[in-house]
Symmetry: C2
């Protein structure tokens, strides 16, 4: 999307809500990336997930719009970045301000976020979702996997392999199982998913409070894998938390 | 390639060597796969890498050809297969029949082969080469890596990450390093290569004799990584060993 297409796209979504006066629009996520509408900075952790004033104002053609893009978060070492999840984290903390532990935000680029005293202490991005799609679509394993009903037994088998640190070295077995014996491509896909999710979760400490932010089938997979490895986790809806985080920031900026 | 195109392709390569009588052609590798010229069976390990008589005769139109495809090797658990490498292993054993230890055959699908008493005891396929190409070509990291001169420092940094079991969880840092600071895409590519090779080699036992079968730049990368992790390994040319293995099998079958 070229930069001049963001404003018409936004107006087509929110025009019903625009009055005669100025309407503040708070935006977060990849809209603030270099290839987004306007680049927003990163704030370096450790820090609160969002901060009043740390937004970038976007110049708009329409005088009714006051668009601000929220800064992302960055980490120097290991190098890491996030855009958008920081608002979900702020939304979560607005509801559970005393939570200390790990937030897990599954997705194409899954985030593990350590919260201490209302601040993001450190975080790590795992390319699990992208990696899974890449292997299913482009690797030789594409001949060995097929979409279909989730297979919980094959998934659990995969989680076990992944948490033991064997995801990479056992990838090819997904193909070989179909060559040396019988293999169900639908089960193989669940197993591959379990292997990559198990690898992602291998380092989690079962003694630390852990919360999954997300919803739907992917969130359920993570909850099942966490249960299997002994991490007692609950889930919060990611959409709800984005709205809670945006609202919190808006009210703070108005105050 | 469709099946009827194998014979003309072969004749165009060997016609100068064909006489009036019958010429034996021993073939190995993916020519014996299900999608190859004719499917050859797998022999289950533990076993000698090749065995006289364990070839499949191919029906040819040209009466001067006696084409035989050599069986591959399979392993039940963890499921694994190889086609072609077994001939290199046989070639290696024809030169060093008393070798006991690990043969490492780098490539798209890298093989680790444990040799005991002239037999393949077990083996493991690592999709390292395919995985590297996949990530460079199709993942979000493609924007962060570029071909160029090998960077040995970045490579060694990657090997260190990979051998510590952190290859998967640090993939995204390749991209993030370019977003939060300065990053050289050519060095980033060497680092990614080191991460995946380091992960592949992490479980090798420095106390076991180890030999790399291959040649060229990829072989040099493996030798450098092995040196870094304390495994003393020499290399043998893979092409030479294929010819040695085919010759050995041919002479055995004639005897």
């Amino acid at each position: 999307m070229t930069q001049d297409r963001f404003e018409p796209a936004l107006i087509s979504l929110v025009s019903e809500w625009l009055g005669d006066g100025l309407t503040t629009v708070l935006a977060c996520g990849m809209v603030g990336a270099r290839q987004g509408w306007q680049e927003a900075p990163y704030r370096a952790v450790p820090c609160a997930p969002v901060a009043a004033g740390d937004t970038v104002k976007v110049e708009t053609q329409d005088p009714r719009l006051d668009v601000r893009i929220i800064a992302g978060l960055s980490q120097a070492a290991p190098a890491d970045v996030m855009r958008g999840e920081e608002v979900q984290i702020a939304g979560f903390l607005s509801q559970q301000p005393d939570f200390e532990g790990v937030l897990l935000l599954p997705g194409t680029h899954s985030k593990h976020v350590e919260l201490v005293d209302g601040h993001v202490q450190r975080f790590a991005t795992h390319m699990t979702g992208e990696h899974f799609n890449l292997i299913c679509a482009h690797s030789i394993l594409k001949h060995s996997v097929a979409e279909g009903d989730h297979d919980p037994v094959a998934f659990a088998d995969g989680v076990q392999i992944g948490r033991a640190g064997n995801a990479l070295k056992r990838l090819f077995s997904i193909r070989a199982e179909g060559l040396v014996g019988q293999s169900d491509p639908v089960a193989a896909r669940s197993k591959l998913s379990g292997m990559l999710i198990g690898a992602e979760l291998a380092d989690l400490d079962p003694k630390r409070p852990t919360m999954v932010i997300g919803s739907g089938a992917l969130c359920d997979l993570y909850l099942a894998a966490l249960l299997q490895i002994g991490v007692d986790a609950a889930a919060r809806d990611g959409g709800d938390l984005v709205r809670a985080g945006l609202t919190k920031l808006y009210l703070t900026e108005q105050a």
